[in-house]
Symmetry: C2
Subunit: 400 residues, 2 copies
């Protein structure tokens, strides 16, 4: 019984994701689709619009057989570390293939890019360094360097975020899990950062933007998501009265930064090169989160990198709590269907880390970060509801 792994965030789960699952099933000829999903905080350094439990439920109803959690430690990291954590976890869980979406829908450019960069890495690093000291932003410097190595639109444009992620998956597979077959299927929507909803396949970005703007799920959004996602988004808002976005955390972040010592800020994961001073100084005048970000942003640091730092500040995640280079020490199942249960029963004897179904089962430093992150995530919902929402962490997985 083969399994194909998908690396996802489902923020929220939409028709494009459902299409991806069905295509991955075909492409991989697998009976089981395992989605490894970021928890409440995401790779680009953002809070998810609804919590992981409601997103997992939508995904299971949308065709995933198992949804496992990508721990915070791996999830809120740059694409390379994010990909490595996800691939290593899927590998431990026994998947035989991993399938991701791309523009070309062909895997060869990714393999070619990997080989090229592996053999000419020193060249790449040098050009990149020169470009950076030449004053280019990191993404521009990288694109230019890729170009010099012949990695351009024609084969693989590594300036595109989704290509970078795909490339990171392929790279991680080659380096840590070469028994996994990398597969890619063509995306239906061209740009997953598309800001406006067009038809039934829209980007998660455009869906969130529309939802947060109208504080409702209008027909344009409804056309782009399966009915179960609609149900989960509604139900989450009925329970908590909100959908999450960064602005809701701004008062907490500002309060926190203004009452931290510089030394404490230096100890937060991702805070380097004197950023602690810049973050604290700009906090004094910031009037919104967006305003604060704009005051901090420089060519030197990408927007997402700064956002990830803010998530680490919010969750009080220290540099000495970085387990990103460790091998996954458990697999946490958020939910599964009958098919998924069969897969687990059939494979568990070959899985050399504990399979956990609730953070109550186990005492582990990576789980204690998860617990803290979840409490920070719920800090913006009404106080009397926070405990109730947190209790989901202690319950058995969702079974559909």
């Amino acid at each position: 019984m083969d399994a194909c792994g998908l690396i996802v965030e489902y923020n929220p789960f939409h028709n494009g994701h459902q299409y991806h699952i069905s295509q991955a099933r075909k492409a991989s000829q697998s009976t089981c689709i395992i989605a490894i999903m970021s928890g409440n905080f995401l790779q680009r350094g953002e809070p998810a619009i609804i919590d992981k439990f409601h997103r997992a439920k939508a995904a299971l109803n949308g065709g995933a057989d198992i949804v496992i959690e990508l721990p915070y430690t791996f999830a809120v990291q740059n694409s390379d570390r994010f990909a490595t954590g996800a691939i290593k976890t899927l590998h431990k869980f026994g998947v035989t293939s991993v399938c991701f979406g791309s523009e070309s829908g062909s895997i060869d450019p990714f393999l070619y890019a990997y080989k090229t960069l592996k053999t000419s890495n020193h060249v790449f690093e040098k050009i990149l360094k020169d470009n950076l000291s030449g004053g280019l932003s990191f993404p521009d410097a990288a694109t230019a360097a890729y170009g010099t190595l012949g990695l351009t639109e024609e084969n693989l444009d590594l300036s595109k975020p989704n290509n970078i992620l795909g490339f990171s998956y392929v790279k991680a597979i080659q380096e840590y899990a070469s028994s996994i077959t990398p597969l890619t299927i063509q995306r239906k929507n061209n740009d997953f950062h598309d800001e406006s909803i067009k038809g039934s396949i829209a980007s998660a970005t455009s869906i969130r933007k529309q939802m947060l703007h109208s504080e409702s799920i209008d027909t344009s959004v409804q056309n782009a998501i399966p009915p179960e996602t609609f149900k989960q988004l509604q139900s989450y808002k009925e329970k908590t009265s909100i959908w999450h976005d960064f602005e809701k955390y701004f008062p907490f972040l500002r309060y926190r930064v203004l009452t931290m010592s510089i030394k404490e800020l230096q100890n937060i994961q991702g805070v380097v090169e004197g950023l602690e001073f810049r973050i604290q100084q700009t906090a004094n005048d910031a009037t919104t989160f967006l305003d604060w970000m704009r005051k901090i942003k420089t060519k030197r640091y990408t927007w997402t990198r700064i956002q990830r730092i803010f998530i680490h500040i919010l969750t009080n995640t220290k540099k000495d709590e970085n387990y990103v280079d460790c091998s996954p020490s458990y697999i946490r199942i958020l939910g599964m269907n009958k098919q998924g249960q069969q897969y687990v029963n059939h494979h568990k004897k070959n899985i050399d880390v504990p399979i956990i179904t609730s953070i109550a089962n186990m005492n582990h430093s990576i789980l204690s970060i998860e617990e803290r992150a979840t409490k920070a995530y719920y800090s913006v919902i009404p106080a009397h509801l926070q405990r109730k929402m947190f209790k989901q962490e202690l319950q058995p997985p969702i079974i559909i």
Copy 2:
């Protein structure tokens, strides 16, 4: 030119305080009244209803010639440390007397109590210890011990908070500033924790309660405060849209405690004997600040002691930032009138610590706590106003 010192909080400045100033002027025969006032956080571990600048302005208009700030380091402490910090600071500033309110209006019981406890301290300590291990709360245990030493209603009942404060002033004077003459005048209102407003002399507690309850300044409050206090209370609310109370800080405190490690909580000033576990566990279910306090409260710890811990958590004040036993290293003037300016000009040559008029003038660890505390205090007002309010810290003193 003699000065009489008053140790105050003015939360807010009311008719009783104004009466105290005029009586102190008579009793001390002093030309200058110097009020040393707690800043934005108070001895009982509470945020002041309006900030120190607006309270100082009301006090100057109410008859104080100079208002100096009792630093956070001394202000948010038990009565002994609070009194010691205040007395030492007034002593450095050259006051010849200190005048406080009491029920009896006679100083002898305080001096008698001091002598008795000094000579029989070992007896007192032993009885206190026995009473505590006998299961009595600290205040009850202390009262009983005082009783055994003959310190009862007839002479001085040290179970009454205002008597305890007065006693602490006298004690601090005897031990650190014996050149100061302790004076006391009879309070007009019997109990300064009185919860309801009766006539033109009411307790600050009853005034705050009424204001926060009605979110306005009704006639009963107006009758109990001078017009300038009315003006300052109004103006503060117009500027910031709020009056401060603990509940407004609850979301920040809860978020903070739930994302702190036990070790971090142990490092906060005042957190002892495993209280860190109790504070963190109860945080999960707390629905309001009052609810949280009730869940933490035990016979072992007084309400105010727990509140002070919460203020230290809010301001992120560590155990290693405790300067309470240090000699005051500066005197900060919040405001003064002509009389006050003359006093400063006349005495400054004899004052051996810097007299500062803005925290911008000086880099000092006690001032950096002050700065952090002020930012924490304003964290509950709208973001775009916080910077503007904070700037008061950087401006010269109020001159009337």
